[in-house]
Symmetry: C2
Subunit: 333 residues, 2 copies
Amino acid sequence: MDNRKKKILQAIIEEYINTAEPVSSGSIVKRYGLDFSSATIRNEMAELEKVGYIEKTHTSSGRIPSAKGYRLYVDELLNDQNINLAEIKYIQSKLNAKVNELEDLTKITTSTISEVTHYTTVAIGPKAQIQNIQEIKFVLLGTRMLMAVLLTEDGLIKETIIKFDQDITEDQVETLNYIFNNKLRGMPLDSIDKPLEEYIFSHMNYSLAVIKPIIEQLNRVVNEEEKIYLEGTNKAFELPEFKSLEIAKNFINLIDQKEIMADLLNTGFANDINVYIGDENENEKLKDFSIVTFRHRYKNKDLGTIGIIGPTRMDYSKVISVMKYINKKLNGK
Amino acid sequence: MDNRKKKILQAIIEEYINTAEPVSSGSIVKRYGLDFSSATIRNEMAELEKVGYIEKTHTSSGRIPSAKGYRLYVDELLNDQNINLAEIKYIQSKLNAKVNELEDLTKITTSTISEVTHYTTVAIGPKAQIQNIQEIKFVLLGTRMLMAVLLTEDGLIKETIIKFDQDITEDQVETLNYIFNNKLRGMPLDSIDKPLEEYIFSHMNYSLAVIKPIIEQLNRVVNEEEKIYLEGTNKAFELPEFKSLEIAKNFINLIDQKEIMADLLNTGFANDINVYIGDENENEKLKDFSIVTFRHRYKNKDLGTIGIIGPTRMDYSKVISVMKYINKKLNGK
DNA sequence: TTTTAGCACTTATTTGTCAAGAGTGCTAAA
DNA sequence: TTTAGCACTCTTGACAAATAAGTGCTAAAA
C-alpha cells in the first residue's frame, strides 16, 4: 500500500460517505486534486479492489468501500479533529448545564451527540452489580411502604419501593438502617442475596416478613438490565440507506431490542473509542450497520457507555471527532 | 342507512382491515354471505360512496373506507368482545405479576398490549402537578447530597437528588423534614415555588443556601414532562402501510417527539376509550394514523394513559376489545 | 320495484424493447 | 509510468402493448 493508493482510497471513502453513490475514477480526479488521469486512477482502483479495500456493485460501476476499506480508513487515514467552532459551542452550551444526577447527564450527552452527528445515539448507565455499597437508607412512606436508597462508592444511586402487608414503624426503619449498613457497607451490590437474608434472619433475629421482601426487591433492582437511552431514531430515516425497507426494518428491530443494545454497549474497551464496522459485528443482524461506542470511565469510576449506530457508510471522521471532544469535556466536569 | 348498507359497509371495512387491498363488489359476495349479486352490491357501494363512507383510489378500483366510514364502524358496528382465550390467558399471566410501583405496572401493561394487538403502544404516567402532597422526606446520602422523596395522596412517588456545596448534617435533615411536611402536607405539588422559598427563608429563618436548591430541584421534578413508555415500534414495520417510506418516516418522527406523544395521551376522556381516526386528529402529522387511548382512573386516582398508534387501517375491534379487557383487569388489582 | 346478467370502459400492473448514459478494462502510444 | 481512446457492460428511464381487475350503466328478469 503506497501513499498514492492510500490517498485514492481515502478519496473514494470520503466521496462515498458524502454522496452515497459508487465512486468513479473520473469524479476523484475532478474533486480530489490528484494530478493523474482517470485511467491511472482506474488502474490503482483495480488493484485496491484486488486486495479487498473496495468493491463494485456491477461490472461497469464505480467503487464502494468494503468493511476492510473502512477499517483501514478508521485506523490510519481519518481526521479525528473534524469538529468546527459552531459544534464546539453547541456541545459546550449543552454540557454546561448543572446536573444533579448521572442519569440526567447521560440523557443530555446522548441527545447532544445525536444532534451534532445526525445519527441515532444510544446509551446505557454504569453496571450496578460490580459496584460497592457505600450507604443504604430506608425511608418510610405512609405506613406500609418503604423506599430503599442505595449509594455506591462510585456515586451511583439506586432506589426502589417495597410494599408490606403489615405496618412498619419508624423504630423498625431505624433498626433496618443499622442492620443493613452494618452488614453491607463496602460490600459489592450483588451480595444482597438469599444467604444475606438467612444470616439476618438467624443471627439478628429479625422478622422474616419484613426482611424477605426487602432482600428480594433489592436483589431485583440491582440485577435488572440497565436502562437504555435512545435519541434521534428519526435521524436515521434521513439517510439514503433507509430508502430500502429491508434496512429500515432491520434497524428498527435492532434498536427496539434492548438486550441487543445492552450487549452492544457493554463490550469494547473502557476509555477508548470502539468502532465495529458492518460484518465485523458479531451479531448477524448488524452486518449492514456500524457502531461506534465509548465506555466512559473517569477517575476509575464507570460512567456508562454511549454509542452511535448508523449505516456502514457512516461519517466516521465526524463521529469519532465529536466523541473525542465530548469525552474531554465530560472529564472536565 | 338501512341495515343492508351497514352490513356491506362492515364487510368492506373488515375485508380491508384484513387484506389492506381495495375491496371489490365481487369479493364481498364471495366471502361475506350476503345473498346478492355483485351488481347489487355495486349499486349499494355507489351510494355508500356518495354519502362519504367509502372511497375509490381510481375510477375502476375497489373501495376503501374513509375516516367517516371507520367512525361509523367504531361507533356502531364493531364487535368489542373480540378477544380469545389464548389472549385472555396471556394478559392474565402478565398482569398477575406482583408489582411495587405504578411505573412497573405501566411498563408491563404497555408491552402486554403491544404483544396482543401487534401495534405500537405508548403510555404516560399520571400528571404530577395536580396531585396533593401526602408526605415529603429528605434522606442524607454521603455528606453533601440529599434525596427528596415526595408521596402524593394518590400514591404517586417522585424522588430526586439535590447536591450542595456544603456539608449537611442529620440535624438539618430532621429540621427540613419538619418544615416541609408541616408546610406542604395536603397542598398541591405545584405549590413548591418561589413564594414558598421566600416564606421559609423569612418566617422560619432557615439558610437560603440549603433551601434554595431544594425548592428549585423539587420544582423542576414536579413540572418536568412525564416519561413516555414506548413498546413495539418494530411491530408497525410489519404492516403493508410501512412499505411507503413516507409513512414510515412520519411515524418514526411522531413517536420520536415525546411532546407530541404526551399531548396525544393527555387529551380524551378519563375512563373511556378514545378513538381518533386519521384526519380527526388535530395534529396534521397524524392524518395517516389512528390513535386509541385509555385514560385510566381508579377510585378517583389518575393512573396515567395508555395509547395504541397505528395506521388508519387498524383492527379497531381487536384493539378496543383488548383495551376493555385490560381495563377490567387493572381495576381488579 | 328490486335484482342481476352482460358489456363497454377505465385504470393499474406487468412485460418487453430500445436508447442513452455512466463507467470500466484493456491496448497501444506517449 | 502514464494516458488517450475505444469496445464492452450494466443501469436507468421511457414507451408501447398486453393483461387483469373492477366499475357503471343498460336492459331484461324476478
